[in-house]
Symmetry: C2
């Protein structure tokens, strides 16, 4: 059997290796448009920032090493320019020789990936405008930074590549501005979870332009709407990627509206004997059931294995993606899995939500850092629909737990029951995941009745806003109109609260507020407790007011984690 | 309703707090024999090692703070000396006044914990012999270390407390010897997984006495069998703990053979209105179904919540423990969940096993460390039965994933499918958990046919021992009798291998051996591949030969992680 593979990075290389392990007999030819296969595309920003110091480290396999190990005919600089599904051939252009030739196949695997989107905008042709997808891009950017020594860089688009590049350019001594068209950077998280990230970025010295569209690039700036001009000796375009499927236009293989390849659960395209995978295909989101582009490295690798097994006669299903992802930004980690609130809302999927704050490990053991968790779950059974975490140490561990809970249909009650590894340097006897489960369970059971920051503006004037933190905390800052009765004196001061008024309880992170709620409810009050507490409110306020200096001081003195 | 709670640490304090949140009306009295409640017992070794510098940090709650917040009548230095279940009373001895009094109850909660076992052995009365359970013990040990400046300490018993103390005493400048009666320290893992730990401990300068029983303690030594004498100015007894249930002897409450309190799934004892939890009760192991003592902090906290809810009229089930645990030893982490191989064997539970080695994060991103994983699963469906990990960064994350897979009945195929958060600083596109799932799946599917180190001694002489590593690796050390054909030249050198002989394949960690196996099998050979590879073999050899110096060099040059 002759198997052709188009694309030699994550998806294509995985498929080829598994194909060969499955069968010594098949002929396997791998076409890669560029000069490199199986390179570390996720490592490129770190090469630019000199975290990865060695150029060779980016090349996980060379054509020769791959050929030696897997007996795959690797053809680099070889672009498949068209596919003829009836004749079962592809047309290949060899960029080294300029020649074009036809190659026949029994099975065809498409893993062409996706290319950075470059909008039609004035100035895109300047040679200080970059995109980052492959090794030559990375070399070009690093060379530019080293030789031209730009003072400033504007990064247009605050997604994964944009923010990883923001860190690495800043590390290289370049002043970074991030320009983002949406209200917040990092699309996988909701706006309320992005406040800490925005504050952190500003505290780290970056400039943030949110709700901002770039109109043009000049020799030393980016021009935004309303005449705002952002100084920039260098520009990185990272507004998104688009499936690189132009060569399939006349192939008869079904493509979606954005050019994505349509596949079924077996990663088969609409045409017999043609499979597709990776960043160019749309997959089913396991929460919404929608077909969509979820371009991530881990799913691509898994799909490679499934494609290879199916070509060899098995019937392996790809059960869909959930968008589990994580970003490191200096010390901070930002992670998500499943659907965010905004997506659930727009899909009309019912949900409930809780915000919790937990230390990464036992408070008495040094070095613990606070992480904020947003958990989304179904209002009936409490099935996990999504989770977002922003914090430092141990964020990666907890998002994996939520990801598995989501994938395997677990509920918030299951989160409570999880027996996770505890020792003081690693966690607490009640892990942050257990805690989120407890709080969510309390909400489902009606023991904890939450309200949210977005409800603050519609609270009736006759209601009581009750802050149960200590005097000192209250004096340090509070929500306008709140009265202060510290939790530990609440029982003795009940008379001060009017029973005929609805009580909106506020504490620092929602925990003491819950205890106050239990006390008040059992004494005949009608109460709601602010999920996320003053901590979340204050993060939003600092973000809105751009209090970078204040946040920076908080980070230094550890105050922000209280 | 009047609720009495015996024991004010993890289980008792959790129960009291949840009881109060459930109901403002009940009278709750908490008796604690010692002077402190809700203290950080897991932090005590780190206070002794001055990692936790502040004495107060160990006290999570004081009687006053707990009373203020939860309106619980906290009585410290108050020992419950007997229980009368017919009259529904307990007898309490107040150690401050010497008085004894009777207290009646509607509901009784027993959370007395467990005490260190001190064997009857000569020298136990010396004042340089210590155990570690509570705050006064920790103060005494730290005082002794600071004021007496012992040169050496013998730790008898290499469990969690023993090894945490080994690290912390060594950190305080004391030379540490660990004496262990079993063949390896850390009972939750199997012997084959303990080699790296033993090698690491020796490389860190500790002395290890395995298969060694202490017979007596002298003024400056511990005497072992065969006349071996271990120098020790200080001795820590940490051979295990025993339920502290003497006060229940005549209560009619059913106890097990080791004095453990027998409870049902609702944490109810054999006597109506009496509940028990924590280190003093036996619980069901979710793998074997056996009732056993599994004294861990996290389950105790969870049980506290369940007990409180059940007292308040709910019917919450405790679904059993699985022994998820982790130990930090300097930079190393040792973690386990579920049953180990030795326990599966003695319980007669059928299983299969694989060993895998994976980097904690992408190899091209600096700082990744190798972790070794042992995965145990059912031979039919591939259900997870247990997992053990020894490594550095990221061990805690992966053991949690395995723990959840086990608890929620997942299989090795589910491990393959998990969509975990990947970015180069956190993981690889195929996470170590995915990899373990792939290898285990290959074994179940018959694609990978493993053999194990313990099989080496029974391999027939006419078989071929084939090492497929590079020439250089082979020259650096190999298993006696092996011939070397590097993987990448295997296809062209097939003629050198006799087809009539069984081929036992060896590589470094089992990965190249698997590819070699696929090549050979498809060419008509009968093969087996060494699970864990030369890496595991060599760790065992270094452990046996006590090659501390070699291992220390390996650690320094990073060689050990290849």
């Amino acid at each position: 059997m002759k198997i052709l593979i188009v694309g030699g990075v994550a998806g294509g290389a995985s498929t080829a290796a598994r194909l060969r392990r499955n069968s010594e007999k098949d002929e396997i030819i791998l076409f890669e448009k560029g000069a490199h296969i199986s390179f570390a595309n996720c490592g490129l920003p770190y090469y630019i920032g000199n975290v990865i110091t060695n150029k060779e480290a980016l090349l996980l396999q060379t054509p020769k090493s791959f050929q030696d190990r897997f007996r795959v005919d690797v053809r680099v600089n070889s672009e498949v320019v068209s596919v003829n599904c009836e004749k079962k051939t592809v047309c290949v252009k060899n960029h080294d020789t300029g020649e074009t030739y036809i190659q026949d196949y029994d099975k065809l695997v498409l893993s062409p990936g996706a290319a950075p989107i470059v909008p039609e905008m004035k100035g895109m042709a300047f040679n200080h405008v970059f995109t980052l997808r492959n090794i030559p891009d990375a070399y070009a950017i690093r060379d530019y930074v080293e030789h031209t020594r730009p003072k400033s860089c504007a990064i247009i688009g605050g997604g994964f590549i944009g923010l990883e590049m923001a860190e690495n350019l800043q590390r290289s001594g370049v002043e970074v501005s991030v320009i983002e068209a949406a209200s917040h950077v990092m699309a996988p998280i909701d706006n309320d979870m992005a406040h800490d990230l925005h504050n952190y970025m500003r505290a780290k010295g970056m400039k943030l332009y949110l709700n901002s569209r770039a109109l043009a690039v000049t020799e030393n700036s980016v021009v935004l709407e309303k005449g705002i001009e952002v100084a920039a000796d260098m520009i990185l375009m990272s507004i998104g990627i688009t499936p690189e499927t132009g060569f399939l236009k006349d192939s008869g293989i079904a493509l979606g509206q954005r050019g994505e390849i349509i596949v079924n659960d077996y990663m088969e395209t609409s045409v017999k004997d043609v499979y597709a995978l990776g960043d160019a295909v749309s997959v089913r989101h396991i929460v919404s059931g929608k077909q969509m582009l979820i371009p991530l490295a881990a799913p691509a690798n898994k799909q490679g294995r499934i494609v290879a097994d199916n070509i060899c006669g098995q019937k392996q299903k790809y059960r869909g993606s959930q968008g589990t992802s994580i970003l490191k930004l200096f010390e901070m980690s930002i992670a998500a899995t499943g659907e965010k609130e905004a997506s659930l809302m727009s899909s009309g999927i019912p949900y409930k939500k809780v915000f919790t704050y937990s230390l990464s490990h036992a408070g008495y053991y040094p070095g613990g850092r606070m992480m904020s968790i947003k958990l989304l779950f179904s209002p009936d059974e409490g099935k996990i629909l999504g989770a977002q975490i922003v914090g430092y140490e141990g964020v990666d561990k907890r998002i994996d737990t939520f990801a598995n809970a989501l994938r395997f249909g677990l509920t918030v009650y299951d989160l409570q029951e999880m027996e996770l590894a505890y020792a003081p340097p690693f966690s607490s006897a009640k892990d942050p995941v257990n805690m989120a489960g407890y709080v969510a369970g309390n909400v489902l059971d009606g023991k904890m009745k939450p309200f949210y920051i977005e409800d603050l503006s519609s609270i009736q004037e006759e209601a009581v806003l009750l802050d149960v933190r200590t005097d000192k905390e209250f004096e340090g800052g509070h929500i306008h109109g709140a009265v202060n009765i510290p939790l530990d004196s609440l029982r003795s001061r009940l008379k001060e609260i009017d029973k005929n008024k609805k009580v909106y309880i506020i504490c620092q992170i929602g925990l003491r507020g819950y205890i106050a709620q239990r006390i008040l409810d059992q004494n005949g009050y009608e109460t709601l407790n602010l999920s996320g507490g003053y901590r979340l409110y204050r993060a939003a306020e600092m973000d809105e007011k751009d209090e970078a200096e204040f946040y920076r001081n908080c980070l230094h003195c550890g105050k922000i984690i209280e």
